[in-house]
Every structure is written in structure tokens, then in C-alpha cells.
Symmetry: C2
Subunit: 250 residues, 2 copies
């Protein structure tokens, strides 16, 4: 059996942010599996089968990939960003754990990618330059009460905060509640970065003070980064620089 499965991160969008490891895996693959817009980023070629699928079918997609690899195919499951951050790697391993024992013997690797928060941070300066946390604001897979608890504890710990999936059409109220909680818990005007479609032609970066942040500033293509209490803004002509200093006073 010569099949393998690579769970690969395509980065946030630009080709120049795709690692050579991922490019090489795609060049050797017989099958590429993933959410429709991510599979669309992979160039068609002879001998490569593309298997785009819709959102929210991550476990079905994972089982399909594992079955193909078990049958000898060279399979790449594509995620945007990094596959290990709110993406397909955990889904594939859930399928492995629940699946037939022979799946555990497969050659499965994770090829990391540039995750959205790091691409967004790079465009804004260095807002994640000190201790930080990453929270998925979608309550599809966890109770809202847990999100609220994590937000309050993250503010108490004075982490900078990176938010994935801040807002969707089906849950417009979640991000509004998030901003209310943050204003209540932070009580200051720390910077908030809205980074939309980072590294694509549609990229738009906006920096506002927390009290001025509004729910409509985010959609599902937006990464939101909220500074720590000591995060700073360097004003200049053009976009400001946002960074979190490396030091915290004693």
C-alpha cells in the first residue's frame, strides 16, 4: 500500500504564502479534497481528481479522504490558513479515532500553513507580539456560554485576542454580544483590527478603538484581533502600525 494523506494549509490566499512543502504535496497528489473555495485554489492537471464539497461536512470529507488513502491514493485535504487551527486536521483525526483500526496505520501528515491571525497581524504590525489567545467565535460546535467565559478570562489574563469566524449570516448576534462583553471587561480604548480577505486582492485592514467597533465591521472573511491593554498604535501617513510591546512592567 503506497497511499498517503497530507492535511495541508494553503495559507490565507496569496500564492507567495504557500509553503514549498504544500506545493510539493499537491504536485504528487492523485486526489484533492476540501471545501469548494479551497479546492478551487488548486490548479487542475491530468491525473489529479478534485473533490470539492460544501461546508459543515467535515467528517464525511475526512472519511472519504481516509478511504481513498487506504485504497492507495495520494490524497491532499486542503484547508485555508493552517490545517491545525480551526480547520481540517482535527476533523480527520476525529474520523481516524472513530474509524477502522487500519486507518491508524496510514501515512498521515499535517503540512502547516500561514494561519489567518498571523497573516493579519503581519499586515497590521505586530499586535500578537506578546502573549495571546485564539478563539473561534462560532457557536456551531460549542455552547455560547463557553465563548463568553473564555472572552472574560482572556481579558483578565490580558492576552491579545485573535477571533476566527466572528460573524455569519446565521449568527449575526454573536459578534454584537462579543463586542459588548469586551467593552464591559476591558473598559478602555485598546485597538481592534478588522482584517478582511488578507493577502487577496480584496484585502481591507481597518483599525478602530474598541468603543468604536461595530458588528458590521466583520463578516466571515474577516479576522478580528483585539489588543492587550498595552497594545500601541504608531500614527503615520497611511495605515497606522499596531504592535504589542515585548515587555510588561513589573
Amino acid at each position: 500500500m503506497s497511499g498517503w494523506l497530507v492535511i495541508a494549509g494553503l495559507g490565507p490566499g496569496a500564492d507567495h504564502l504557500v509553503t514549498p512543502e504544500v506545493t510539493q504535496a499537491l504536485a504528487q497528489a492523485t486526489d484533492v479534497i476540501g471545501y469548494i473555495p479551497y479546492v478551487a485554489r488548486v490548479a487542475a492537471r491530468d491525473g489529479l481528481r478534485l473533490h470539492p464539497s460544501d461546508n459543515r461536512v467535515e467528517l464525511d470529507r475526512s472519511r472519504h479522504a481516509l478511504e481513498l488513502a487506504a485504497a492507495g491514493a495520494r490524497v491532499v485535504v486542503v484547508s485555508s490558513g493552517d490545517p491545525g487551527v480551526f480547520a481540517m486536521a482535527a476533523a480527520v483525526f476525529e474520523a481516524v479515532e472513530a474509524g477502522p483500526p487500519e486507518w491508524r496505520a496510514l501515512d498521515i501528515r499535517v503540512a502547516p500553513g500561514i494561519t489567518a491571525m498571523l497573516a493579519a497581524a503581519a499586515q497590521a504590525g505586530a499586535p500578537l507580539g506578546h502573549d495571546f489567545c485564539a478563539i473561534n467565535l462560532s457557536d456551531n460546535l460549542k455552547p455560547w456560554a463557553l465563548i463568553e467565559k473564555r472572552l472574560r478570562l482572556a481579558v483578565e489574563a490580558d492576552f491579545a485576542m485573535a477571533f476566527y469566524n466572528p460573524r455569519s449570516k446565521s449568527r449575526p448576534e454573536g459578534f454584537e454580544k462579543t463586542l459588548r462583553i469586551l467593552n464591559d471587561a476591558c473598559g478602555d480604548a485598546r485597538p481592534v483590527i478588522f482584517a478582511r480577505a488578507v493577502s487577496t486582492p480584496d484585502q481591507h485592514i481597518r483599525v478602530v478603538a474598541l468603543p468604536d467597533a461595530t458588528p458590521d465591521m466583520a463578516d466571515m472573511r474577516t479576522m478580528v484581533i483585539v489588543g492587550a491593554s498595552n497594545t500601541r498604535i504608531i500614527a503615520r501617513d497611511g495605515a497606522p502600525i499596531v504592535y504589542t510591546p515585548r515587555s510588561v512592567g513589573a
Copy 2:
């Protein structure tokens, strides 16, 4: 003035984890500046000046880079991993903020890289597949009490935790205290991943239960990842897979 400054992430070590954006910036540079072992990863060529410097001189190094760029040089400041995560980007922006006004007009960009925690997570499975935090355990630049506070709040929030700079010769007791705090706060046997020299020929990945973790398992080349309360281990022949499920029960 045609100078520019790119603060670039070289990734954790392997060439196949360096983005094309960073490779291209290095190909166009006149000057490369950074900590000795990172500058050593850049191939020498005619027309390229290498400026290696020692650890703990980040601000001097940043000012040097800014001065060169202001004088028209094409400068790349290199970090390992991602420059925005416990690395040179925040140091350069600190120097910009404290420096002459003309530095704010410079063409400064951050080129993201694969940060150590994501490379380590990929080798172990998907331990950061759900909400998580990143904490620098060095108390060179912040008081120990703040580290302890963040550790306890991170456990209370049930984040998976990635620790940078867990241990050095000058601070051998810090990581011992960290493990004591974690055992006290977690009170369980969740998995701990010690990932040393990830993606290099020296790579070594070790997975132990929290009560079995000992300080000597980490050094300054080790990334430590501690699971959340629901992080799982899939046993198999060879290295186990560690992953954090995407769902948390209501």
C-alpha cells in the same frame, strides 16, 4: 529613497517551510540582520551583507536595520518561526516609535512565517485544533507573577496552551514552577507534547501525561504544548496522534 525593510519569518528550520515571499525578499536584499543562528540560515552571495548579532540586543539590531533602510538599503531582518510571535517585529516597531519621525515613512513590511507552535502541532497531530493560547515562559521581559496568573487563567478558560522559551540555563526553575502550577490547576493527566528542534534533523517529539512531565524534558529549542481538558490521544504503532476535538459538549 528606494530602501525598504522586511521583517521576515524563516519558519522553524526546514527549507520547505520557508514561504516564497520570504525567499524572494532575501533574493532582493542588500543586507540581512538577525540573531547569529538565524542569519546563518541565509546563503551568502555577492552583493549581500550579513549582519549577525548576539541574543538580547533586539533594539540595537532594530535601529541598525532602520538606519540602513533609511539610507537606501534593502534590508531583511530575520527571525525564526513567525516574526510577529515573540520575535523581531515588535522590537522593530518599538524602535520605530521611539526613533526619528522619518522612520515612520519607511517602507516596512512583515513577512509571516510558520511559527514553532504550529509546526510542532502539525508533527503531533492537531493539539491546537480548538481555542488555545500562546505564552512566552521567559521572565526576562515580564514579571513571573504575570506568567503564573496567565497560566492559571488559561487553565480555567480550558485553552490548549503553547509555551515558547520554556527553559534556559539562566532560569532552570521557571519551567519546574510551571509544571507544578499546571498539575495543581489541571488536576488531570492531559497530554503534554515536548517538540524539540521541529523540522530539523534533530527533531524529537515526546508525548507524556501531565503528571509525568519533568523539567528536563524541555530546553530552549523545545516547544511545549499542553492539551485542553478534552484533548485526546490516538494510540497506534509508532508515535501517537494528539488532537483537540472541534466540538465541546453543551
